[in-house]
Structures are given as C-alpha cells and as structure tokens.
Symmetry: C2
C-alpha cells in the first residue's frame, strides 16, 4: 500500500502542531480554535485524503469500537440473520463487527475469545456452546462486557437475550394435541445446552399436562456430528414403531432441514400421515410442500436488544439484563388437517 497520510503531514503542510490538527478533526476545543485555521486544516485533510488511523487512535483511547460475534456457524441462517441485525445495530453506533464460528467445539470458541480479546474488542456477543460455563465465568472475572444470545446458562448471572424455550415447545405441542395429534415425536440434540433441554422439557410437560403419557422412544436425541444420518435414523425409528408417531417436532432448523429432506424422499403426506412443527423460521420451511408450522423466534428483537445491552455494558453499566422473549407459533399447513 501507499504510504499513508498522517496527522503530521497535515500539520506540516498547514504549519501547525499535530495537536491542533487532532483537535480540529475531532471537533474538540470548538470555541478556542481560530476559524480560518480550522478551515485550512480541514481543507488540507481532504486534499491529502487523510484517513484516521483507528489503530493508533484505539491504542490511545482504549476503545476499538469493535464487537466480536461468536456463533457456532455463521452460515446457519439463524446465525447469519442474527449477524445482519447486529451489524445494522452496531453500525448505527459506529461499531464494526468481527465474527467467528466455533462449530460446537469448546477449543475453537476458547481460541476465538482469546483472539478477539487480544484484538481488544470492546465487547462480545456470544451464542455459547456446551460446557462453556468456565469460559463465561472467566469473562465475568476479567470484567469483559458481553451478552449471550439464544443460548445461556441459568446458573450464571450474565446478560442474555433468548426466547422462552420451554413455553415455546409447550405451546407447539399443545397446538398439536389440540389439532388431534396424539403420538408426538421430537428430534432434539443430546446436549447439555439449556435452551435445547428446555425445549425437551416443554415437549414432555405439555404432553403430561394433557394426559398423554410421555414415551421415551418418541424423544430422540441426536448428535451434532452425524446430523443428517442421525436425523434419518430417528425418523425411521419413530415411523416404524408398532404405534408410529403422527406428529413430529424438530428442535432446530438444522434438524428440520435434514428431516424434511428425508420425509420428502419417503413421500410422506404432511400433515395427513405426519404433522410437523419446527423451531426457527427459514425459507426452506416455507417452501416445503406443506409449509411448516414453526416457532418463529423474534430474531430482530433479540439482535437489537442484545446489541443494546452490550453497548450499555461497554459504556460502563453493570446492570445485568436477562430476557426471555416469547416466540410466536406460526400455524401453517403442516399441522392443519384439510
């Protein structure tokens, strides 16, 4: 790259000190600086095409106006949509976002946090993985401003914005039961993640509450590693029981996407043979032959609020905000008898 123009270049050209240039370009000491000089400085700055070196500025001011976004996979539509909201909200406040995906690996998220802190981000927005409690505790101890989104730890007092997963699942199952479905399956993750466990719990509770005996075989927890194969196997299992399921719930959009591909291949009629509900809302769910009834998380709100909370924390607030927003159940063809 070309040698860059710095304050000194402007200062020399105008014949003043760098301090004065800095004051002018930052609009400080407004009343004190002679108008003609200020004008001249601004003129020369534009003429030389001056560009603030944020790195130098950050070193001195101890603020990078950067926030780090850590998610499991930025290419998951949930994450990329969230990223977009956060980007916009950050931008409004002159922040820039750096991001990283940890693929549910504790080691990778450790490394990401480390990298981002080295880069002196002003704060972090994290959708933490399983077993990330020690990570989070460390951040608290180091007094790093951060907020968790989507996923959180009920036992740790941190900022977080998420939905009420229990109620969301509960509501979805009640809707299924109300629509006449009786043998409701669910594919979920074998995980310690609280948000997922809450979905499981809601699924179970709604059935018990409505006099449906909870059948262990109907809640299949798969691993993230072999997602596609595990989903297929789970569906096959639940359909091949002597009492096959008549409704199926997907705990996440990733499970749903693979589940739908399989169900499609099996030429199963939805909802006649099998009703379906999924968490999240994606284009893929819309375009399935029976558009899916889904639990639509208020992504825009989550992203906006999370960013807001983080920026407040960065500004020094030590309030802790914990928010469980309601998710909306969008009822569509996949659970409606014709």
């Amino acid at each position: 790259m070309n040698r860059k123009i710095c304050l000194k270049d402007i200062a020399e050209k105008v014949g003043v000190s760098t301090a004065l240039v800095s004051y002018v370009l930052n609009n400080k000491k407004e009343g004190r600086i002679k108008k003609s000089v200020a004008e001249k400085i601004r003129e020369v700055a534009t003429e030389l095409n001056y560009r603030t070196n944020q790195i130098a500025k950050s070193l001195k001011t101890n603020r990078t106006y950067t926030i780090g976004l850590i998610v499991s996979d930025i290419s998951n539509p949930f994450s990329s949509n969230l990223a977009r909201i956060i980007e916009d909200e950050a931008d409004k406040n002159n922040y820039t976002v750096i991001f990283g995906s940890f693929d549910e690996s504790l080691q990778r998220s450790d490394k990401l946090i480390d990298t981002f802190l080295n880069r002196q981000v002003d704060g972090l927005i994290i959708a933490p993985g399983e077993n990330a409690t020690s990570q989070v505790l460390l951040l608290m101890q180091q007094k790093v401003p951060f907020v968790l989104v989507d996923r959180y730890f009920p036992d740790i007092r941190t900022n977080y914005v998420a939905i009420d997963n229990y109620s969301a699942a509960y509501g979805a199952v009640e809707h299924l039961i109300g629509s006449g479905f009786k043998r409701i399956g669910m594919i979920s993750f074998e995980t310690g993640l609280f948000n997922i466990k809450e979905r499981d719990r809601g699924y179970i509770a709604a059935q018990e509450k409505n006099g449906i005996e909870y059948n262990e075989e109907c809640l299949i927890k798969i691993s993230n590693e072999n997602l596609p194969a595990d989903v297929e196997r789970a569906i096959n299992t639940m359909l091949q029981k002597e009492q096959p399921i008549d409704a199926l719930m997907f705990a996440t959009n990733a499970i749903a996407t693979h589940g739908l591909k399989h169900i499609k291949n099996l030429h199963i009629k939805v909802p006649e043979q099998l009703a379906l509900v999924s968490f999240d809302k994606t284009d893929a769910l819309d375009l399935f032959y029976a558009p899916l009834t889904c639990i639509d998380q208020p992504l825009a709100e989550m992203g906006r609020i999370a960013t807001k909370i983080l920026l407040d924390a960065i500004e020094g607030s030590d309030a802790i905000t914990q928010l469980n927003l309601p998710a909306e159940l969008l009822i569509r063809s996949s659970t409606m008898h014709q």
Copy 2:
C-alpha cells in the same frame, strides 16, 4: 474491564527489560537468550495471564491480520456460506474477518470501505455493487490489496474469482431445450452488474443458437427494491401471455425463493406445467416440492481461492488473478418430465 497486563508488568516482575520479554514471547533471537531467563519470562507471562495487545502490535508492525469482507447482505445464504469459507481459510492463516453489508447501496459500500481502511485491514474481499467501478479504481490507486468475488468488472484489471455466468446460463437453457421446453422465461435484475448481464446474455444466446427466437417479453428484469412484488408480477405476466412460458429461470437465489413461494401459492405443477431452474443452491430449493435444477456455484472453491489470492496480494504479490470457474448444473425434478 480490569487493567490489562502488559509487557512491562512481566518485565518488572522478572527483572528484565520489555525488549527481552518481547523477544522471548515472539521467539526471536532464539540462540541469544539465556534459557533460564526465557523460561522464567514465559512462566510469569502465563502466571499473570498475559495477553498481547494486538492493537499496539499492529500499530508498530503495520499489520492487523484482519480482512474486511464486504457483501450486499450477509444474511443471504450465498454470502453467509461464502463468509464461512473465508472465515475458515482466514483463520488458518491467523487472520480475522470483519464484515459489512451494503444492501446494494453505493453510499453504504463507500462507507464500509472507508471504515475498514481506517481500521487498517490488511485487505478486502468484495462482492461489489452496481456502479462501484470508481470505488474499485480508488482502491487500486491506493494500492489496497483486494479481490472481488462473485461480481466483477470486465473492464478493470483486478483480482477476481467468479463463475462463468454466461456458460452457466447457456448450459441451463440448453438443458431446458434438450428436455423439450420451448418457451423459456427468465427473471433477472435490471442492473449494470456484469455477472447478471452475463446470465442474461447466456440465456439469450442459448435460445438463438438452438433456433428459438428470443422473445423480449420472456426476460423480465426487476428491481432489487420491491423484489417480492416484482417477482410475483413477472411470473403472472409470463404465465398470462397468450403463449405462456413452459420453463422459467431465476437469476439468483433471492429471486428464486420468492418466485417459488408464489408458484407454490398458484398450485402450479412443476415441471408438468412449468419447469424451473435457478442459479445458486440453497436448502429452500432442495425442499420445494420439485427440487430445483440449479446452477451450483463452487462456493467453497471460490472462497478458498479468493482468500488465497488476497493473502498473496497482502504479502506483496502484484500478480493479478482473474478466475472464472465452471458452475455445475445439478439436474433435478423441476426440469425432468416424469
């Protein structure tokens, strides 16, 4: 945040100069430093939980190990998938990615470039918008390392990685013609973007080459602003002609997604009444009742190569690499007569 540990803290605790600490932690002057001292320094660094201040380091070394990714919308699956590839590739080389979406606004992309350059990114990966030529020329003039992806300008000699859009569209149309479809429509963007215009050109050329007279009414170019409404209108128009189309091609995944929703609502049989082809490959296209024949761009390759080219440029290479990769036509139900 807590006061941070810096080199000086380690130096004082060990009783040496900061220079020595820096040498040790960066593994420089290997042979020269007494082993016991080096060990002690490393020990104290861990003990104090030292964290390099990358900002300070960057200021001195003039390298941030950051690359800026500028796309129209990070939440578009094409962009987020690309972002993920770039992230992984960057990470392998110890780079971090900052991103920004410009929503096809020239002004916003100008601002993003400005912000990123102020932050001293080492280089940029850009999927540039319409009329961005002056932007790009400016980057060249300032000798900023950058590479364009997906979109590029044929008249400007820059690094780029994209597909061969003309051939991709041409091939898709030939496939349609070969499958017996005769009145092929296309919904594209009214834009100056070369990659889109190439798709249009391929669409037209393939028909002419195969003795199908090109009908202007069958290529409808919409605007990005009212995409959903425009897509619906375009489809209606092409279906309501006295000679309705029997096949339709979507120029991008965004057009396709909205188009499919509409076609679904119209209960059109695919491919019996209307065959469909789309650029890009997304889950949504897979889950449509007739999985879409699509032009699958080699995203992973594009992302990897683009990153590689950029890193080379950052390292000082002034080679210009221009790559048009072939895209694969995935033939699926939406164009196959039963």
